[in-house]
Symmetry: D2
C-alpha cells in the first residue's frame, strides 16, 4: 500500500537567505520529498506557507497519511484555523513528523501542551546521534550511531512531555546532549520529533537522515480508517445501556441531550 | 511545610440549579475546600469564575502551590489570557488537579494537547473505583476499591495522552469502564485528573473522595523553587561553550542573538 | 512478507479435563493457530510442553518471528534453560504474545520483573472489552467494545509494570475491571498481554478474539535483523574513541579487557 | 519522619585494590552512608556482601525504607534467595537505588526483566550530567548540569525498559551519551538507577552526587504500609461478588480453591 506523505515547508529562508537558497534550490521541502521518494512505497507531495491555506486544505489533508513539518522563521504566520485542522487530522490518525526548528511550531506546541523550549547554538559543530532504542521501527537499518559534521546545537532541557519512547539521543561537540528522536501518540495520530535539519547545513542530503525519515513515515502511518468519532462526546441514553440500569437521582440533562463543552 | 491549595469553581449550577444549590450551599468549591481543610498541612482558598480575572491574578497564582479545577457549564467563559497564565504556572511547577467535567476545560485540553472527549450518561448509577496502582501516593490509605452509589457515567475511550501512571479505573453499573485517575507532568508541573464529581450528587461529601483529593494535593506539590527558565530558549554563544569548539560554516544568526519563535 | 508465528500450548487440560478436551479437540494451541491462519500473511506452527525441549529448540526459536504463549496448570514444568532462551530471543526482537493464565508463566514474570498477580473467579460471567486506545494497531478494525459472554473474571490490581500503552480494559459482570491489553518492549522485542482465554469456555472461537490475535502478531513482528548485540557489554578501548581523549587516572581494567558481569 | 536507608556495598575492591582501598578507607558503602547522613531526615545503616546473609536478613529488610545497592566485581556471589527477598520487599514498597555497576546486579536485572547491558571505557574522562527533567524531585536544587571530571564512560544503548521518567542524561568526552538517571516502579516499590560511581575515582565525594542520592532517597520512600497483598492471587468466590451474578458454565476449580501458579 502506498503511503501518501506531504512535506510542508516554510520556504522563507530558501527565498531570502543566499546560503540556504543555494543549498536547497528546490526548497528544503523539495529535498526532503526527494529523500522520501527513494522509498517506492511512499508517494510524496509538498506544500508551503505561501500557498493558499498554506497548501493544507481539507481535501489535501484528507488525502495525507503522514505530514512532515519544517518551519523556523515565521511560525506565527501559520493561521490558527489551519493549525486546528491539522490537529484534528492528527487526532483522526494522520501521522506527523516534526523536524528541527519545528519544535516551536504552533502545531507541535499545541499537540505537546508544553513550551517545547531548548538551548541552541549555531556554530557548525559535530552532532553524533546515538540509537538508544535499537530495532525500534524508526531506527531500522541504522548503525549504532551516525554523525552530522555540521549542525546547530540543541541542548537539554527540552520542555516536552515524557515520550512514549526515546529513540535517539545526540551528543554535541560543545558539551550538550539532546533527546533527538521522540515518539508520541495524540488520539489516533502517531507523532515523531526528529532534531537535525538546520537550514544553513546540508543535513537533508545525509543518507542516514533520509533513512530515518523514511522509517518514520512508515512508523507514523496508521492504515486504519480515520477515527472521526474522536471529535464527539456522545450521551448514552438510559434506554440504550449495555447492562440494565434504572435511572435514579436528580438530573441536569434531558435524555439524549448534548453535553456542555 | 504548608501547601497552599486553591480550589477554583465555576459556580454556575450552584446559583442556577435548585438541586445543586441545595446540595452545595457554600458552592462546590467551598465543599472541596472543606475536604482539603481536614489535612493540617494544607491551607485552602477558593476562587470562582465570576471573580475579577476569575480570581486568578498573578499574585494569587504566584502564591498557589496546587490548583484544583472544577467547571462544567461554561468552559468558554474562561478568558484565554487567564488560561495562558495558569498554564505558565503549571510549567513552572504549580500542581493542577482537574476534576470531573473539567476534562473539557480549556486548561486541561491545552495541557493534554488532545480533545479529552468521552462518553457520558446522567442516571445516578453506581460507580466502583478500583485502585490499579496500590501504594501510589495518591492512593495512600485507600481500600482496594470504593463505591460512589450515585454518579454520572463517563465511558472510554477517553481521548487523553497515555499517562505517566494510571492510578484508578472505574466500573459502571451500565457496563462501561473509565480511567478515573491519571497522572501527567507538563514542564515542572504535576497534573492529576480525577473523574468523580457530578454536581447533582453528593460526591464531594464522600470520605474516600476527600482522601484522594488530599493525597493528590500532596503528590502534586512541587516544593522546589518556580522553574521560570522554562519560558526561555537561550542562545549559548560560541565563546561560552562548556567544551572548546571552533565556529564553522554559514550562519543565520549573530552571536547571542535571539532565535525565532 | 510472511510472519512466522509459533503458538505454544501447555496442552494439559485438553488431555485431562473432559470439558476442555471436547471444546478444543485439536488443543487450544491448534485452535489459536487456526485463528491466525485466517490471515494470509501469517504462517503458523505449534509446539507443546510435552515436546522435546517443549518444542522450543534453538532452530525453532531462530525461525520464529512471534511466539504466542498459553499455559496454566503447570508453569513450573517449563524448564528454566528454555525460559532463558526464549527471553534471549525476545531481547533480540522476537515478538511475544502472552495469553490469559500465561500471566503467571515463567517467561512473562521474568520479562516483567514483577509478581504479575491478580484476582480471579471462575463463574462464566460476561466480560465486556473496551478499546481505550482506538486505532492502535492491535485494535485495528475492532468496534468500540465487544463481549465474551462466558469468561473467567480477572480483577485489578494486576501487578505488572506501567505499560507503554493500555489498549483494552475489561468490565466484568461481578463488579471488577482489568487492563486486558497491555504493550511492552524488552530489548528489541515487542510484548503484548491479552487477558481472555479461559480453557473451559469457547473464547478462542470468538471472531473478535481472532482479530485481536492477528493484529497483535502484525504489531509484535519486528522485521529488522535479530539484535544479537544486546547480549554484549563491549569495552571501548581508549585508542578507538570517537573523540580524542587522553587516558587519565587509576584503572581496574587493562585495555580491551572484559568487564565483570 | 525519619527515612531508614540501608547502603549495601559489595566491599571487594576496597579490600583487594590499593587505589580503591585508599580512596574509600571506610568502604564505598561507608562513604555513601556519610553522604546520606548530611540529611537529618535520613537514618543510615550499611551492609556488605561478606555479612551473614549479606546483611540482608528478614529483620533488616523489614526495617529498611530505601535500599542503595553498589556492586561490581562479583554479582554472582549474591545468593539467589536473598535477591528474591529483596525483590519481594521492593514489590511491597521498599525503595531501591541502584548505583553505577549495579546495572548488572541480579536484583536490578530481575526487576527490569532485560539484560541491562551497556558500553564502557575506564579512562578517567569527563562526564557532564544534564538535568533533562528539571524540578523532578530527584533533581531538586541541582544546577542545569554538573560535571564529574574523572569517570568511567557508560555508553548507549543501555538495554533497560523505557523508564517512567528520564531525569539525567550524561555527555562523555569520548563521544558517548548515557541515560544516567531513570525511574521505575515495580509493585509498590520506587526504583532509581543512577549512573556515576566508578570505584577508582572519588565520585562519592562529589557534593552534587550526594545531593542526588539524598533526593533519591526521599523520592523512593513510600511512607504507606507494606503492600504485602501483592504476593497473593486471591480467588473471589461467587457468593462474595460485589454485584450479583449467577454461576454458569463448566468449571475447573471448586469455589474458593487456590489457583495454579
Amino acid at each position: 500500500m502506498t503511503i501518501r506523505a506531504l512535506v510542508w515547508g516554510e520556504n522563507i529562508h530558501e527565498q531570502k537567505n543566499k546560503v540556504v537558497g543555494e543549498l536547497y534550490p528546490e526548497g528544503m521541502h523539495g529535498q526532503i520529498a526527494k529523500l522520501l521518494g527513494e522509498d517506492g512505497e511512499i508517494s510524496t507531495a509538498t506544500a508551503v506557507l505561501q500557498d493558499p491555506d498554506h497548501g493544507l486544505t481539507d481535501e489535501v489533508l484528507a488525502q495525507t497519511d503522514v505530514l512532515l513539518w519544517w518551519g523556523h522563521a515565521d511560525h506565527a504566520a501559520v493561521r490558527d484555523d489551519i493549525v486546528e485542522k491539522v490537529a484534528r487530522r492528527v487526532y483522526e490518525g494522520m501521522g506527523l513528523i516534526v523536524l528541527h526548528s519545528g519544535h516551536f511550531s504552533k502545531i507541535f506546541k499545541k499537540l505537546m501542551g508544553t513550551p517545547c523550549g531548548l538551548k541552541w547554538r549555531e556554530a557548525g559543530e559535530r552532532e553524533r546521534i546515538w540509537v538508544v532504542n535499537p530495532r525500534h521501527p524508526i531506527a531500522r537499518g541504522l548503525p549504532e550511531h551516525f554523525e552530522i559534521e555540521y549542525e546547530e546545537m540543541y541542548g537539554e532541557p527540552f520542555s516536552v512531555p515524557e515520550p512514549l519512547e526515546t529513540v535517539f539521543i545526540s551528543w554535541f561537540q560543545g558539551g550538550e546532549v539532546f533527546r533527538s528522536g521522540l515518539t508520541y501518540r495524540r488520539g489516533a495520530g502517531n507523532i515523531f520529533y526528529f532534531r537535525p535539519g538546520h537550514e544553513t547545513y546540508p543535513t537533508y542530503f545525509e543518507p542516514m537522515v533520509g533513512k530515518v525519515l523514511r522509517n518514520a513515515v512508515h512508523w507514523a502511518h496508521n492504515s486504519d480508517a480515520a477515527y472521526t468519532a474522536i471529535h464527539d462526546a456522545p450521551n448514552v441514553p438510559v434506554g440504550a445501556t449495555l447492562e440494565p440500569i434504572e435511572e435514579r437521582g436528580p438530573k441536569l440533562h434531558a435524555d439524549g441531550e448534548e453535553g456542555f463543552r
